[in-house]
């Protein structure tokens, strides 16, 4: 029997359930935190660092902080805590800049409806998202323009953009940049891969030129050169200029991101689409771009996050964005004090962090959802 080389199964091997792999917290800690001497040391060092740094920071931001005060006196006396009272006192200015107090409800309406529409659009299982998109991309911009700027024909007094400022300007700049840079970037990326030499050359020149200069340069150019190129009657508004600048700047980076996605796609996808008789626009819109764009979601969101940060630079051409409004608020002698600046900048940092981290989390969710549906 022992030297038999032939084998025929008599009865099937039983299918057993897997053994239990779940372990307690202690076992998890041992294998992840203290698996070796080096790992134990690393764990120890990081725990010690956290214990050393976090409690003072926490105390500074909460128990030691001044939460409400009529002016800066209390904050000047208490120097080991944040002065949240300053942020509370300046909150209206930080949100609206010099927008007339009586008209600020208009900004509130634009912000609230914008937030609602964005929530509708990014919530994957929301009903009738096509309507949401129509409202957001067509109706909303027009309504927002008339609400924010005002127009005698609709009975709202005109508020010059000179008075706009604060958080709503930052959000508006980022939103306009994001909404315009992606489609522009897609067009530029397609242009760069076009078979028409003129289109390709124009796209390459634009992309490489914009990527070759700092954003501040683009802002200065948008500010001083746009009026030179256009007839005097069309001189763009001083707030519109940096908006154009940021959209164009971001589009160049977006184009390279999208081009990367296009290059990841197999030639077979193009051939499959062409063989079915799809023409170029349909092939791109239905087959190529949906795949190319989802593959580069992390890069696109990275660009959005960068764009959000870059909105702080518009202050250089005289736009009062949130950070500039914060700097202006520091100049108030009533609220001068050693803890004011730290508090203000921590608050500004939290503001930018919340938005950028939110975008990053959302993109991670989208990536996971798409990966689940399409991979085996």
């Amino acid at each position: 029997m022992s030297d038999a080389i032939a084998f025929v199964r008599a009865r099937p091997e039983p299918l057993d359930p897997p053994p239990t792999f779940s372990r307690g917290a202690l076992a998890w800690a041992r294998s992840n935190l203290f698996s070796s001497l080096g790992s134990s040391l690393t764990t120890f060092v990081f725990v010690a660092l956290a214990a050393w740094l976090l409690p003072p920071l926490f105390r500074w931001a909460t128990v030691n902080a001044v939460w409400s005060a009529p002016d800066g006196v209390l904050c000047r006396q208490n120097q080991d805590g944040a002065c949240w009272a300053f942020v509370a006192a300046k909150l209206d200015y930080l949100r609206f800049g010099s927008y007339p107090v009586a008209e600020r409800w208009r900004v509130d309406v634009v912000e609230a409806s914008g937030a609602g529409l964005i929530a509708w659009l990014i919530w994957p299982s929301a009903p009738k998202r096509a309507w949401g998109a129509l409202l957001f991309f067509v109706v909303y911009p027009i309504a927002a323009f008339f609400l924010l700027r005002g127009s005698p024909t609709v009975g709202l007094p005109v508020v010059d953009t000179l008075l706009w400022g604060g958080i709503f300007v930052s959000l508006l700049t980022a939103l306009v940049g994001i909404v315009f840079s992606l489609p522009l970037g897609v067009l530029l990326a397609l242009g760069r891969r076009s078979e028409l030499p003129a289109v390709r050359l124009a796209s390459v020149l634009f992309i490489e030129f914009v990527r070759g200069v700092p954003f501040i340069t683009v802002l200065f150019m948008a500010n001083t050169m746009l009026p030179l190129f256009l007839p005097e009657a069309w001189t763009p508004d001083r707030f519109l200029r940096p908006l154009v600048g940021i959209a164009l700047f971001s589009a160049a980076y977006m184009a390279e991101e999208v081009r990367g996605g296009l290059q990841l796609l197999n030639r077979g996808q193009y051939e499959g689409a062409m063989a079915l008789g799809l023409n170029y626009p349909r092939m791109m819109a239905l087959v190529i771009l949906p795949q190319a764009l989802t593959m580069v979601i992390p890069g696109i969101v990275n660009n959005f996050v960068g764009l959000f940060m870059d909105t702080t630079l518009v202050s250089i051409v005289g736009i009062t964005d949130f950070l500039e409004a914060m700097n202006n608020a520091f100049k108030d002698p009533v609220w001068s004090g050693p803890t004011i600046m730290a508090t203000g900048y921590v608050f500004a940092g939290m503001f930018y962090f919340v938005f950028c981290y939110g975008m990053a989390r959302y993109s991670a969710t989208v990536e996971r959802t798409l990966a689940r549906g399409r991979k085996r």
């Binding site: 077979g268 062409m274 079915l276 008789g277 349909r282 239905l286 949906p290 795949q291």
Partner: protein, 253 residues
């Protein structure tokens, strides 16, 4: 320019006249003359690099030819994009690597072209797609994504997808070469059924048993030229040209 509507040309589904093609300096197709009649099944075989894939990819202009003329279903292929689209609407193609769209479900893969190219209402396109998925025997997979299917199933979806455009001619470019051996049969069976229904087919394949079974004529290519054309039985039993004999000896062992 439309070919003249003589009875002879209307009989022809695809007509190659003195077709040449180059890849750079490499002469990939050399003076190809071949007429495929309506309802005819042509199997193209030959060693790798012989130009057989290039040949059938010229039929729907995934490759362009540089000299000579190719007339497909009465339409001559020129750089004119409108005419190329016209030909592609009538010519279905199945690839070695399936080329299904991974971001769409099986059903969406099938309805995409009927909806966007034929302007068919969505409902109608879905009914048609389900009918054709049933014909390739995988209607139960309609809601899945291509990545969730086996290779053989994916290739059958690719066949159904091409059939949804109701093509007059079907091109198969080594449809079983990328499949695991146990899945080759299900795809060949689907193609055999299609052949029995009278579809005009040009098939590039190494499956010689299949060729013998369904082909009206077998075309043997080597070095970018057609070496021998014959009905399958004489082709396999009494090859004439030395290169054909050598090739058959090598693949049939």
């Amino acid at each position: 320019m439309r070919a003249s509507a003589s009875t002879e040309t209307l009989e022809a589904a695809v007509e190659f006249v003195a077709v040449h093609k180059w890849y750079g300096a490499f002469h990939a197709l050399r003076n190809i003359n071949l007429t495929v009649r309506r309802g005819e099944r042509i199997v193209v075989c030959g060693p790798s690099g012989s130009g057989k894939s290039t040949l059938i990819r010229c039929v729907n202009r995934l490759e362009e030819h540089h000299r000579g003329s190719i007339v497909v279903d009465g339409v001559e292929l020129t750089p004119d994009v409108k005419r190329i689209d016209e030909v592609r609407r009538e010519v279905g193609m199945v690839f070695q690597s399936f080329n299904l769209f991974p971001h769409l479900t099986v059903l969406e893969n099938c309805t995409l072209a009927p909806i966007w190219v034929r302007r068919m209402p969505k409902r109608e396109a879905e009914d048609l797609a389900m009918k054709l998925l049933a014909r390739v025997k995988i209607p139960e997979q309609a809601g899945k994504y291509p990545g969730q299917l086996s290779g053989g199933q994916q290739q059958r979806v690719a066949i159904a997808r091409a059939l949804c455009m109701n093509p007059k001619i079907m091109l198969f470019d080594e449809p079983t070469s990328a499949l695991d051996p146990e899945m080759v049969k299900e795809v060949l069976d689907t193609m055999t059924a299609l052949a029995q229904d009278g579809m005009t087919m040009i098939v590039v394949t190494h499956e010689m048993g299949f060729a013998r079974q369904i082909a009206d004529r077998v075309v043997f290519m080597d070095n970018g030229e057609i070496v021998e054309i014959n009905a399958p039985d004489p082709f396999f039993d009494h090859p004439q040209h030395e290169r054909t004999k050598l090739f058959l000896r090598q693949i049939l062992r």
